[in-house]
Symmetry: C2
Subunit: 469 residues, 2 copies
């Protein structure tokens, strides 16, 4: 036995002593954590440990410091950026910590552990007429810990904000094993630096989130969903503003799908319907909802009639029942499946100012064509947030082409005052973008904070922050 | 000349070289920065320097590092906590940096410098049908830099959030003089740690804010304001929820005034009217507004009639015109004047969970009476945020009584799951509270971050973070 193997053995025994033998997985039992959802990354961790409490998490983190073994926190393993890959590391999974500790309907908050499934929380609060409104394709398998540590977004950010905006309090195990209890239900707290927001979205670099206090919202009584066809996407932001103002801010989603996406999605969603008779350059899914008793349907129809008179909207279908509503969303939510059904694939998550989305989507295909004339692409976007998921497939399997695609997609976003990572975070796949485009001073500050809080580099090393050159 | 005086002289000459002789003030010219609005703190700074650009700010910060002279950033000097007092320090005022660089109505953002007056920005965007909705008594003199560095709140937080929620981008000079340019207009950006929110509310400890990108909101077309009298404050949160749900979230303010406040305020507001025939245990100012064409007035009246039938509300007056609306707000906005007209005074800014406000206000007078039977008090609250400004006057001038009052007020808030500082921050006056009640681990993390970014302790030393014991 080498000294290294010996050390590894000691660490595993110590882990078993903390969580119990059955919750330290190695070999085949750890297999399901060895790959990510996208299939782009594959690496066997040293082990997977599944603690059941924040105190177990704390003990594991202290142990990792003692043995100087990196820890990679994982929740639902739905990262699109390789964020939960555990090469040469111990994966620490929060999936056993799945208690909803408390629901306070009057105060409209829920206290939950990190392993609670996003959609399960939404189901649980439904009986009180409330909702946890974070909504995206993976909501049925992603966990609260993960959505907070990546500040997940999705289709309802327009109305309810991203994960950060839905979080009042946090419980976090810091890189040195200390427990930071910020489990407040307060709406206002200016007692010192905003550590909560620093930890949210830090991708497990600065701590492992073990529990949270989350905001709930009243469940909408009225809801209306429609699919619109537009010739000219550049008119969409003004249409969104008009619908928002006319409804007093009732628009909850305003989602774009490109022509090529609409053509391809039909092969991926069983019984998919496109709703409109022809496929327009821009298809928009709009949803409005409110707790108020009001006829949102006629309000939307009036808005759309006006937009058709001015030519902004060419055609529109309003969902007549829940089934149609679901079918409309099924179209949009198949985006990740459509993107990843074919490899190699370059998926992206850029954002530009809301009024530049149309410019971006007009300019980007030309840049792709200059790299690989045989490329194919799709685009969907959270239009109200300026957040575009542009996906491109090269005509052949050449890593240089993929890299050139990514670089060009990022560069154009940054040129337009945008970002190369809007809601998916950095993980592994966006490290080159981070190195190339992130403000140097911001990187310097991030590294100083990381070093101050994690001097041994225990938590999720080699991700989020590119190595200094 | 002593070595110290010599050093100070050199520093002043160097400052003059950066900003021009006329913008380095000493002696009588610096007088107006020697005291704070509350009158509780008084200290002559070494000098006041008034830079005109972020590059001048950066040069000044580098100079301060060279000479190891503390810098105290100041904006409108409206801090209620002694946050801008410059004892043994050079005060750096951003009041000359008052350009509104850009208003983008379609994108609903404004790009402004730190010295812009809050209400001036709101006025400037009014012509586009937009508003910058931060609203509090000092909005006519507080500056953007200050409201961001303290994460100011106020009466509209319920609907629009606090300063943090209204900020998309920041430009900050760091404690080492580097310029951190986070001037994005993006709604979503997950490219690394959330430095923006860490800097907002850090009270000039981690950087000096020089410019910001701010969110604007559509100006409400319909607005309705009313004064309600309630016998039982504990029924107010449910009333607020019902009004919010019935209006689709149109309630923008829900402000509480105590009986003793209503009695005293009439001596402070010229021609003050109490609107209701008698003074109830709880007076509520409610305001609803929306961009939607709808009859908010009848919606509110229906809600109030229901509340009067159930006995939740005893009496109500709805403002019939702008003049009455202004008079209602004048009642509420006189709170700081009423509090500080008499000395010694203990003003506070605590928050408890929304459903504990009535419990808090019921329990606190007894605790005061145990300390000083002759005390007098008032209370106002941003009820929707659980944020209470409880003010107490001791019967005699005894610092020990004042300290005991503060300690008891904080302690009860913390017992109820609340905070000793909801929106005013820490500054100097809340340092003992911070030392007594703030989570030890959170303080440890804050100190590590402060040391990592400001190793020379140049920015605003001796405030916000209590000394380690």
């Amino acid at each position: 036995m080498t000294a290294e193997q010996d050390q590894s053995c000691n660490a595993l025994s110590a882990l078993q002593a903390i969580v119990g033998v059955e919750h330290v997985l190695v070999g085949q039992a750890a297999e399901r954590w060895s790959t990510d959802w996208t299939g782009a990354y594959r690496a066997m961790p040293i082990a997977v440990v599944r603690p059941d409490s924040r105190d177990e998490v704390s003990a594991i983190v202290r142990l990792a410091n003692t043995f100087r073994i990196p820890l990679v926190p994982v929740s639902g393993n739905t990262s699109l950026n390789g964020g939960a890959i555990g090469r040469d590391a111990i994966i620490i999974s929060v999936d056993r910590m799945r208690r909803i500790r408390e629901i306070r309907p009057q105060a409209r908050v829920a206290v939950v552990e990190a392993g609670v499934i996003v959609s399960a929380l939404d189901d649980a609060v439904g009986q009180y007429g409330l909702t946890f409104p974070l909504s995206f394709g993976a909501a049925g398998s992603s966990l609260i810990g993960g959505v907070l540590s990546t500040n997940a977004g999705g289709a309802n950010v327009l109305r309810y904000g991203n994960a950060r905006d839905l979080c009042l309090g946090l419980e976090v195990v810091l890189p040195d094993g200390q427990v930071l209890d910020l489990m407040t239900t307060l709406k206002k707290d200016n007692s010192g630096f905003d550590l909560r927001d620093l930890l949210i979205g830090s991708e497990g670099q600065l701590g492992i989130i073990t529990a949270a206090v989350l905001r709930l919202h009243p469940r909408a009584g009225e809801q209306v969903t429609a699919i619109l066809g537009m010739q000219d996407l550049s008119r969409a932001p003004a249409l969104l503003n008009r619908l928002q103002d006319a409804s007093g801010g009732a628009v909850t989603a305003f989602e774009f799908m490109s022509r090529s996406y609409m053509e391809k999605v039909q092969g991926h969603v069983q019984g998919a319907r496109c709703f409109l008779e022809t496929i327009y350059p821009a298809t928009i899914l709009v949803e409005m909802s409110t707790t108020r008793e009001m006829d949102l349907g006629s309000l939307l129809e009036t808005g759309l009639e006006e937009a058709m008179e001015t030519g902004d909207v060419s055609d529109a279908v309003v969902a007549q029942n829940n089934g149609q509503q679901r079918d409309m969303w099924a179209l949009r939510e198949a985006a990740a499946e459509v993107a990843f059904h074919r490899h190699p694939v370059v998926d992206t998550d850029i954002a530009v100012p809301v009024d530049r989305v149309a410019d971006y989507l007009e300019a980007i295909p030309q840049r792709m064509a200059e790299i690989d004339a045989g490329f194919d692409d799709i685009a969907v976007a959270h239009l109200g947030d300026g957040n575009i998921h542009y996906t491109v497939w090269p005509s052949c399997d050449d890593p240089a082409i993929e890299a050139a695609f990514r670089a060009a997609i990022d560069a154009l976003a940054v040129e337009m005052g945008g970002t190369f990572s809007a809601e998916h975070g950095i993980g592994l796949s966006k490290l080159p973008s981070m190195a190339r485009h992130k403000n140097r001073v911001a990187l310097d500050v991030m590294r100083k904070i990381k070093t101050a809080l994690d001097p041994n580099g225990i938590l999720n090393p080699g991700k989020t922050l590119p190595a200094e050159i």
